[in-house]
């Protein structure tokens, strides 16, 4: 079974993940260029999880040499490699995991000098990841990347805890891969062609076979029509009473003159299905608030020549909803599987897909107009213009789930931190286990400790066995130092109380050690 040949092998190798994130996800991963700062256990584990599934390329920046300590926590290094450059060794070992991935390393100068010289081109990467980088370096790096609009992922493993912090100016979520979605069928705002199709069906003149194979979607719409007529309404049933009325009509429709008494016991799968799917079919079709927020977003309102394509398409979509869409997003064009024969099902798919195609076309036209208005269209290559159609198609299919993600810059974090601390209740209910904020504050204290002493609390060479007392003493000194720092940093009695002693103590015990099983995830 080991027939190894070009692209086919690749598909077999990545088979299990393609089923998770699809070929677009894989393409994005293969185009990914990642920069990793620090070659410790944490960073190699991060890279391992990217290299195995087939990342495009990575660059490791680290100036240190391998120590015995590395061998204890990092799976990729071996005691025989001690004193070799960490960056080079880990880079080579990671490349062995997957020959398809390109990897390079920078082992000098160190990251601080690299940032000072400002010659290193960080713009070549899609994302920069740091692993256990000291705060002062991180602050410089983060503001640099903020201006370049390169996403930064700050990962940290500290004893038994770990943190991940993302700094991103703007991240567009297009293919969200939601777990379960309510199908976009719009029985409350039926498509014209769907209504016509339903009207061509007369329940009173169906043959037994036609009745048996009537798709549940049509059954539901027919029921809805009758219900609306009966109650003189134009919307869908909401209250329990209304739903019961609805179900009664549905029950009536399920009777057919061709059945004799014995047939009554026969289950009518399509009607059973109709009853079962009521909650996901009789829904109001609206524009989700996330999308409305996007429509109101400044980037959408103030399109310019420099705007990202994302905002052009969002704007085009907005124009569509205001005009042709009559307040609704483009039709997704997917019809869930249902009990019926193939022809009836295909007919329904055709109805919805045709509308989806039409909507997509309209938005595409709006987009071209917008691009022309802002002098973007003329500067596009013909290749780029050709892909626009497919791009719009993808946006339309995922219209409900489009979103944008923005985070604060790390430089501004202290302000938000102060706000957070104020939110912590003064006499916190102590039986509630340590909140995440408390841990976060604790870690910030450790950072301050590092700035002062150039080492983390509790991090010192262990003495030999008969001197464990001196270790204990050093631990106690660090503990009180750390508390002191906490007092200075927050400088108020109120905030003082929010620093939990038990957390500070625990942090000292960790001594910034990197545990493999923690880094591993």
């Amino acid at each position: 079974m080991s027939k190894i040949s070009g692209p086919d092998t690749k598909q077999i190798q990545y088979d299990r993940q393609l089923r998770l994130w699809g070929d677009h996800g894989q393409k994005a991963l293969e185009a990914g260029r990642v920069c990793l700062i620090g070659a410790n256990a944490l960073s190699t584990e991060i890279l391992k999880a990217l290299v195995l599934p087939g990342l495009g390329s990575f660059t490791i920046i680290d100036h240190q040499l391998i120590t015995l300590e590395d061998c204890g926590s990092n799976f990729f290094v071996h005691p025989s490699m001690i004193d070799q450059p960490r960056a080079r060794v880990t880079c080579e070992l990671l490349k062995q995991l997957n020959p398809d991935v390109h990897g390079t390393y920078v082992d000098k100068p160190c990251i601080d000098d690299l940032l000072k010289q400002n010659t290193f081109d960080f713009a070549q990467f899609n994302v920069v990841i740091t692993a256990n980088l000291p705060l002062n370096t991180l602050v410089i790096l983060s503001s640099h990347l903020w201006s370049l609009k390169i996403p930064l992922l700050v990962a940290r493993a500290y004893g038994f805890i770990g943190t991940i912090r993302l700094q991103v100016v703007e991240h567009h979520i297009i293919e969200a891969h939601p777990d379960d979605t309510i199908p976009d069928l719009r029985l409350d705002h039926p498509l014209k062609s769907f209504v016509n199709h339903c009207n061509s069906v007369d329940f009173n003149s169906l043959t037994r076979e036609q009745h048996l194979h009537m798709p549940s979607l049509i059954i539901l719409y027919k029921t809805l029509q009758q219900w609306q007529k009966q109650t003189n309404r134009i919307d869908i049933p909401r209250t329990r009473k209304e739903r019961d009325e609805f179900k009664q009509i549905l029950e009536q429709l399920s009777h057919h003159s061709a059945y004799d008494a014995s047939d009554l016991n026969k289950s009518l799968e399509n009607f059973d299905e109709a009853k079962r799917v009521i909650p996901s079919r009789l829904v109001n079709t609206t524009i989700p608030s996330t999308i409305n927020n996007l429509f109101q977003d400044r980037s959408c309102l103030e399109l310019s020549n420099q705007s990202h394509m994302f905002w052009f398409i969002i704007n085009a979509m907005k124009l569509f909803t205001q005009n042709e869409g009559q307040g609704l997003l483009p039709v997704r064009g997917e019809v869930p599987d249902m009990v019926t024969n193939t022809n009836s099902y295909v007919k329904l798919v055709e109805i919805y897909q045709e509308q989806a195609k039409k909507d997509c076309e309209t938005i595409h036209n709006y987009l071209i107009d917008l691009l022309k208005q802002h002098n973007r269209f003329s500067t596009m290559s013909s290749n780029e213009a050709a892909t626009l159609h497919e791009l719009v198609h993808i946006y339309c299919k995922n219209a409900t789930f489009l979103n944008v993600m923005r985070t604060a810059s790390i430089t501004n974090e202290d302000d938000s931190l102060k706000k957070l601390i104020e939110q912590i209740p003064l006499e916190s209910s102590s039986d509630e286990s340590e909140s995440e904020v408390s841990w976060y504050i604790g870690l910030r204290l450790c950072d301050a400790f590092y700035e002062k002493f150039n080492r983390y609390p509790g991090e010192f060479p262990l003495s030999t066995n008969d001197e464990t007392n001196s270790d204990q003493r050093q631990l106690e000194i660090d503990f009180s130092d750390l508390k002191q720092i906490g007092k200075q940093l927050f400088n108020s009695d109120r905030q003082q109380s929010s620093i939990r002693e038990n957390i500070v103590e625990e942090l000292c015990r960790y001594g910034a050690s990197e545990l493999h099983s923690i880094s591993a995830f």
Partner: protein, 652 residues
């Protein structure tokens, strides 16, 4: 960073730890796949002293995206040994031992094997193996962590006998959906029906013809819907030949085109003659080889043609034309026929089977099922399915990435350390001191809270769980499963030894299969089959259940249940030999039987001569003795059941 030695990091954190240290403990990891690889790495770096690894698989290309202990050059080698080699390269001092074998059937993995370890971790991909390890751990009172992952979700569950729910305390949903035979053979309406049919077909053509679970694929005229149609059947010219019989004749002068016409033309014509079936359904349209080669369209409905721009870029994800599938069918049948012949040759000189076993990762196997399923789908007017999707539907493929596995493994190792800390140090007593601080952990992305890792308190064991409730200790029977027949089990063990009369014998593996039914007359053919033909394994528990009706007093009618655990051994060579381990359990059963049944027959013949004496197991607490010697007079039992727990007492 100032730590002086590589191990100090761990000891730094375990200063206050009590109980067993990782260095002193031994762990059994069952499964060296996605989670297994991550686990082994984490265990090794957390300085676990001794690790055993069981895996039956060999490495495949599709493993390489997450099982990082393996490289391309390892493809085809056993996972267990390659994984251990990789770990040793990084941690030369570790004691790690590979076991290449099936945890379900390999006789090496008996109770004494499990007893060597402090803790067992499951890193398995199927329910059956999990249930088995669960059972073994319950029997040995070993703590078990069951880990698993699907896509982005994962879990690590702790199982302690009597303290938490065991794996079987909650009934597991059926792994594979089953479909009505008639739907598969006569009236498919969904792609999956055609795929299931194609897999049956594979087994008919190339698979194990002895397997009783192997379904026929020819039209089934016993379809209840076809009840009124018998006359027509008889007058119809087509006489039914099962594929199995047909293929045996056909294999001599092997011609894929004839096979094609038999399956997709003759059989379909026969189906259409069963008129009742098509009253409410679209009638299938038979297709002949010559004509099928000319069909360039993808389906009668033009499915797949609407939008070229959304067409997947990967060939396997595309729907192909009918003529392509015809070619695919012919090619794959030829390939498989060649392989099947070769396999039969190999089987002459080795222990390998004479037949092929369908494998989702094998290209020819997958092409065969894809082509056959789609040709059948075409005939029945069902949507076609791409090779990519057929693979996941036919192979029950679970998506997987390294990231989730790494998280699961990391948590599992932390749990493992916590469990060890509760084990008394330097003692082989595995009663846990306290489990209050332990939890189950689930990993799933919750879109609302953004939380990824949730810990859930341990659940109390289910009192009526067949596997773990202490109320019923199983009677352990040691036999050679490839020699011992159902008939021997029934007559010798159940009727003669356990003194049951006519019980239902249910296979308690979650499948609910009934081995012997109290109501039906025994099928002689079936009774002569050996136990391994029913896929019963080492450790399978049989539930023997019988209602004793007391005609004189309805209130005395009682339900009698005995659990029987099968243990396989190769050392027994005689077909009728069996060994009962754990005599005192029988003693208890006999006691309760006695209470329930004051008048059990006494006219039993003594035919226990074949029961072997067991020298190898003298060291076991419950010694087995040759039953003949113990045959006692009826009035003796009451006195020596409890204090003589090492012996087996016959009830007569």
């Amino acid at each position: 960073m100032f730590a002086s030695s590589s191990t100090s990091e761990n000891s730094n954190l375990s200063i206050n730890s009590i109980g067993k240290l990782p260095e002193e403990s031994s762990v059994l990891v069952v499964g060296a796949g996605g989670i297994g690889c991550e686990l082994l790495k984490s265990l090794a770096l957390c300085r676990f002293g001794s690790i055993g690894v069981i895996d039956l698989d060999t490495i495949e290309v599709s493993n390489l995206n997450r099982q990082f202990l393996f490289r391309r050059e390892h493809v085809g080698q056993p996972k267990a040994s390659v994984a251990c080699d990789s770990i040793r390269r990084i941690c030369p001092s570790i004691h790690i031992e590979p076991f290449h074998g099936d945890v379900l059937t390999d006789p090496r993995f008996d109770m004494s094997f499990y007893k060597q370890y402090d803790l067992v971790i499951n890193a398995l991909d199927n329910v059956q193996a999990r249930q088995h390890v669960n059972r073994m751990c319950l029997l040995c009172s070993k703590p078990l962590i069951d880990s698993g992952s699907t896509g982005y979700n994962g879990q690590a569950t702790l199982i302690f006998k009597g303290r938490t729910q065991c794996y079987d305390c909650i009934e597991k949903p059926k792994q594979q959906r089953t479909y009505a035979v008639c739907t598969i053979r006569n009236t498919p309406s969904q792609p999956i029906h055609c795929i299931v049919w194609a897999k049956f077909l594979y087994n008919q053509l190339f698979g194990d013809n002895e397997d009783p679970n192997n379904e026929d694929v020819t039209p089934d005229s016993d379809d209840p819907e076809n009840a009124n149609n018998e006359l027509e059947n008889k007058t119809n010219g087509h006489h039914r030949v099962s594929t199995r019989d047909w293929i045996h004749k056909e294999m001599e002068e092997f011609d894929p085109k004839r096979i094609f016409n038999k399956l997709f033309f003759d059989d379909i014509i026969y189906l259409t003659s069963m008129k009742n079936l098509w009253e409410k359904r679209r009638q299938p349209i038979p297709i002949e080889y010559g004509k099928a080669c000319l069909v360039k369209e993808k389906n009668q409905n033009g499915q797949g043609d609407h939008d070229e721009s959304t067409m997947p870029k990967i060939t396997d994800q595309r729907i192909q034309s009918i003529s392509d599938y015809v070619q695919m069918f012919i090619d794959s049948v030829n390939d498989l026929k060649q392989r099947s012949d070769k396999q039969r040759e190999i089987a002459l000189t080795t222990k390998e089977p004479t037949f092929l076993v369908w494998d989702k990762n094998d290209d020819a196997d997958l092409r065969f099922v894809t082509a056959s399923a789609n040709l059948r789908a075409h005939i029945f007017g069902i949507n076609l399915t791409s090779k990519f999707d057929v693979k996941s539907m036919a192979g029950n493929i679970i998506p997987a990435v390294a990231t989730t596995n790494a998280i699961v493994a990391g948590i599992t190792v932390l749990q493992a350390r916590k469990i060890l800390a509760t084990l008394p140090r330097l003692s082989h007593d595995h009663t846990l001191t306290s489990i209050n601080h332990l939890t189950n952990v689930f990993i799933s992305t919750d879109r609302k809270t953004g939380g990824i890792i949730q810990s859930i308190p341990l659940e109390e064991p289910n009192q009526s769980c067949i596997q773990c409730s202490d109320l019923e200790q199983p009677v352990r029977v040691r036999i050679n499963m490839s020699l011992f027949t159902v008939s021997a089990l029934y007559e010798r063990v159940i009727r003669n030894h356990l003194k049951m009369n006519k019980p239902d014998v249910i296979i308690a593996d979650g499948s609910g299969r009934i081995l012997i039914s109290a109501d039906d007359d025994e099928d002689e053919q079936m009774m002569l089959k050996t136990l391994d033909q029913f896929k019963l394994m080492n450790g399978t528990i049989l539930l023997c259940e019988e209602d004793y009706a007391d005609d004189t007093n309805a209130a005395l009618t009682q339900n009698m249940k005995i659990k029987l655990m099968l243990e396989h051994t190769d050392t027994i060579k005689d077909i009728d030999d069996y060994i009962i381990v754990d005599g005192h359990v029988i003693g208890e059963i006999k006691q309760s039987l006695k209470r329930k049944l004051p008048d059990v027959d006494n006219d039993d013949d003594d035919d226990d001569d074949n029961i072997q004496h067991l020298d190898d197991y003298q060291n076991e607490i419950n010694i087995v003795k040759k039953t003949k010697r113990l045959s006692t007079t009826p009035n003796e039992h009451n006195t020596n059941t409890n204090n003589n727990s090492g012996a087996i007492h016959m009830l007569r």
